[in-house]
Amino acid sequence: MKTCLVVDDSGVVRKIARRILEEMGFNIIEAEDGAKALDACKRAMPEAVLLDWNMPVMDGFEFLGHLRRMPGGDAPKVVFCTTENDMDHISRALHAGANEYIMKPFDKDIVATKFQEVGLIELPEQTPV
């Protein structure tokens, strides 16, 4: 089973993301800021990271920089999930090594299509008409 690290300082968002991703077959680990997320990655590298941008202690952008420099840190697919929804933030994230980008608010369909895009989940047979 693939593991997804959900990093967000909002417990509500983590809970919603957990429900969506568990339904998609992921094992979930939660972290409430970038520093705690890095600790989690040192313990065991996840296959996927769903990453908020603005968080106390260490933000998502800084976390991504540290992650990509860690041994094995280029492996996880990182999908930002943030209220930062302007081109400037998106470009910076992609430059720093993010694989995909979700602008909040999000729903199950958006998470599913983004995770398909980076090859974390298989395509469904078809989308409903």
Binding site: M87, I90, M103, I110, T113, K114, E117, L123, Q126, T127
Partner: protein
């Protein structure tokens, strides 16, 4: 909704758009038409039907729009676009190397996500297409939908369904809460209002036709008829792409499935010899509609 009101709407939709509602789709009509009724200041479906019967053509058009417009998204189902890039285009590039022109038709272009997805695919291949004339024609039944397609403006939700983030960065410009596709991509797509039930031979012959998720709403005879005319609007070595829930098998032999590529078909060369109607079960809706 009274049964006569339902019958009236069902017949009208079938005649005007080909939409073939079975006897139990009251909920669908209510979910689509109650908001429209409210917008027009009408009390409900009965009053809406009264108004339509009294001859309000604009209202009839809005009803058809509301019932036939469906949500779509960029690179919907993904597989057809893989077929387009990996199977269709390499063949077309070879076959048309002489005349260096490609004509593509999105027969249910809707709000633009499908034709623009194809345009973005082609943009990625611009090296191989240098000096080629590429035409994408998007048609739809609804003028309102076509206007949205032409504008190429999408909500944050819409640009997140199926569109890879790199393509958003590359081809879209942000304007407040909305995202507009670039003038360059928009210029690759021509728009035309068109009802598939009517003659479309004036559009000419195409190398590639995307006709996805529209025929499922048609009854069997209409499907067979449209397939026959699509075949006549296509080059002998062209490609037809259908939706994942659609097929020609058991309906017509004018197209044959492309081996191992789901949803992909080519003209068979047989022109208009149809599978015998007796092998197929006519649907109740099709009979009741007459």
């Amino acid at each position: 909704m009274t049964p006569p009101d339902y019958e009236y709407l069902r017949k009208l939709l079938k005649d005007l758009s080909g939409l073939d509602l079975s006897a139990d789709k009251q909920y669908l009509i209510e979910s689509r038409l109650l908001p429209l009724s409210r917008k027009r200041g009408l009390a409900g479906i009965s009053e809406l039907v009264q108004k339509m019967k009294s001859g309000s053509a604009s209202l009839v058009a809005q009803v058809v729009d509301a019932m036939t417009t469906n949500e779509t998204f960029f690179f919907r189902d993904k597989v057809p676009f893989d077929h387009f890039r990996d199977t269709i285009m390499p063949e077309v590039l070879k076959a048309r190397a002489g005349r260096k022109s490609i004509r593509i038709w999105c027969a249910a272009g809707s709000t633009g996500q499908e034709p623009y997805s194809l345009a973005m695919c082609l943009k990625e291949m611009s090296g191989a297409l240098a000096g080629w004339r590429v035409e994408i024609i998007a048609t739809d039944l609804s003028q309102e939908v076509l206007e949205k397609s032409k504008a190429g403006i999408y909500s944050q939700f819409e640009v997140q369904r199926g569109l890879p983030i790199q393509l958003l960065v590359k081809h879209f410009k942000q304007n407040g809460e909305f995202w507009q596709i670039s003038p360059e991509i928009r210029a690759m797509v021509a728009h035309r209002q068109l009802n598939l039930l009517h003659d479309f031979s004036q559009l000419g012959a195409f190398d590639v036709i995307f006709c996805r998720n529209v025929l499922i709403y048609f009854d069997q005879d209409t499907k067979i008829n449209v397939f026959g005319r699509l075949a006549r609007s296509m080059e002998a070595d062209g490609f037809l792409v259908l939706g994942a829930a659609e097929t020609v098998v058991g309906l017509t032999d004018v197209f044959k499935p492309f081996p191992d590529k789901r949803g992909l078909y080519r003209p068979s060369g047989a022109r208009g010899t149809f599978a015998p109607a007796a092998t197929a079960m006519p649907r109740m809706a099709a009979i009741a509609g007459r």
